[in-house]
């Protein structure tokens, strides 16, 4: 160990610079907002009383399962934050539920452009385009004008495993 250190002694100054970086990162982490993502399996139970849906923690799924992805967030700072936007890429292996697609602002082009699904189109060959469907959605986002100090919210979308 000592022999190695002396051998590479000329690099010691460079190593110091690298070791200083985590301190910078820590300072950046001191943000007023924390967000947490969770995933649940939507279990549908049908009984004489009707159909009920339960969210249960999921670790493994099968094609056709419906999942609920939630993002909860809290403003733990002393001041309100504004123009709060959560952007959530929709995993390739799931299809956004038609309801979630219709009720939220979505993107079908990797997050470049946004709108309600009914206003979006998919470019096709020969200058033709077709209306976008829930299957085309690549990203979903939620916008909140203000999150007051201490405020918490949760955003959620539902998607089916392809």
């Amino acid at each position: 160990m000592f022999r190695l250190k002396s051998f590479y002694g000329a690099l010691a100054g460079f190593a110091l610079v690298i070791s200083a970086q985590p301190a910078v990162a820590l300072a950046q982490d001191a943000k007023p907002v924390q967000i947490e993502s969770k995933v649940f399996l939507v279990q549908t139970n049908e009984s004489e009383q009707g159909k009920t849906e339960n969210l249960v923690p999921a670790t493994s799924v099968v094609p056709g399962d419906t999942l609920a992805f939630t993002t909860s967030f809290k403003n733990s700072g002393a001041e309100a934050v504004t123009d709060f936007v959560i952007v959530n890429p929709v995993p390739e292996s799931v299809t956004l539920s038609p309801k979630s697609a219709a009720e939220n602002e979505v993107s079908v082009d990797g997050g470049n452009s946004w709108g309600s699904l009914s206003a979006l189109t998919i470019a096709a060959d020969d200058d033709f385009s077709r209306p976008a469907t829930a299957e085309d959605v690549t990203h979903i986002r939620w916008t909140f004008s203000t999150i007051p100090a201490g405020g918490t919210e949760e955003a959620a979308y539902f998607a089916a495993v392809k």
């Binding site: 907002v33 952007v87 995993p91 470019a123 955003a155």
Partner: protein
């Protein structure tokens, strides 16, 4: 929840959409491939005082389990004729979402059918040309496993059987081919923990991870009945068998059965004490030359021979020749 739709940050023009290629998830009939990790991460951006900040969530992930499903289909589209040996063709489809091999078994002794063919061999279409190639396609021991098949992949399996002795013409046999997922089969939902692709769990799908289908053989046999008769006409206008009388022999060949008799040749000797009348050989009323030439018959002082070849259906042949009593 306060959702705003009026703060679009980008002007949206459909005609100006950039062409962006997304990594496509393979679209299998059975869904996302087993072992795939579905990961979700959200990012938030906001204005804090005068600075714009962003924060990224943790990443949550779930793993897609392996669904075990299989389909077996007979591809022959009806009865396959068997006279000596025949090939039945089945298609095995991996209808699950994982890489899986299947144990393949054959049952030639299905109860209630017309006969039980003799098993010769099972083989799969290892050169993928869609047909059985004897000596080329890989032989499968009954009950042994197929190669590993990707989701949606098909494999042709050939069952070669032989017609057993004593089978009645036109009898029909059932031959059943069964495929079971090697990982396991059973009631839908049965779990094989950790035995799916990439360490995922394997779950039996709606097919029970087992399927079977039946191919049919129909025995095609045939036989030939030969009836010989003679008419005599003597030189005095009668029908006495006296020296100088002409005897015309008729040989009528009738086919019975649903198969085909091949290389049928009918031969007859000229009876002792008679002399063949040259040029008298006919087939169905048409003359056949005596010499061995292009037509199907030949005749000599010792006998006649007519080559009829394949013989099937409701055909009938009548051969006639005339001798004179010495």
């Amino acid at each position: 929840m306060d959702k705003k739709f009026n703060h679009f940050r980008h002007v949206f023009m459909a005609s100006a959409l950039p062409a962006i290629a997304f990594a496509a998830t393979p679209a299998f009939a059975a869904g996302v491939q087993a072992g795939t990790s579905i990961e979700n991460t959200a990012t938030a951006t906001y204005t804090n005082g005068t600075s714009v900040e962003s924060v990224t969530s943790n990443t949550v992930s779930v793993v897609v389990d392996e669904i075990l499903d299989v389909a077996v289909a007979s591809l022959d589209g009806g009865n396959v004729s068997i006279t000596n040996q025949a090939v039945l063709t089945f298609q095995i489809t991996n209808s699950g979402n994982g890489n899986e091999s299947f144990n393949i078994d054959i049952d030639t002794a299905v109860p209630g059918d017309g006969f039980d063919p003799d098993f010769i061999l099972l083989a799969y279409d290892s050169n993928f040309n869609g047909m059985y190639d004897s000596g080329t396609d890989t032989v499968l021991t009954p009950g042994a496993s197929s190669p590993i098949m990707a989701p949606d992949e098909n494999l042709l399996v050939f069952a070669i059987t032989a017609l057993p002795l004593g089978t009645i013409d036109a009898a029909i046999a059932d031959v059943k081919l069964t495929a079971n997922a090697v990982t396991g089969s059973g009631s839908p939902g049965t779990l094989f923990s950790g035995q799916g692709d990439s360490g995922s769990d394997a779950v039996v799908g709606s097919s029970t991870a087992q399927d079977q289908d039946t191919g049919n053989l129909i025995a095609r046999l045939g036989s030939v009945d030969l009836i010989k008769s003679a008419t005599v006409s003597d030189p005095f206008g009668g029908n006495q068998s006296i020296p100088g009388a002409a005897v015309t022999y008729s040989l009528v060949a009738n086919f019975t059965g649903t198969g085909t008799v091949s290389a049928l040749t009918i031969a007859d000797n000229i009876p002792v004490g008679t002399t063949y009348q040259p040029g008298s050989l006919t087939l169905d009323g048409s003359n056949l030359t005596d010499s061995s030439d292009g037509d199907s018959g030949e005749a000599s002082a010792s006998g006649i021979e007519v080559i009829l070849g394949d013989f099937s259906g409701t055909n009938s042949y009548t051969i006639q020749f005339t001798v004179e009593i010495n």
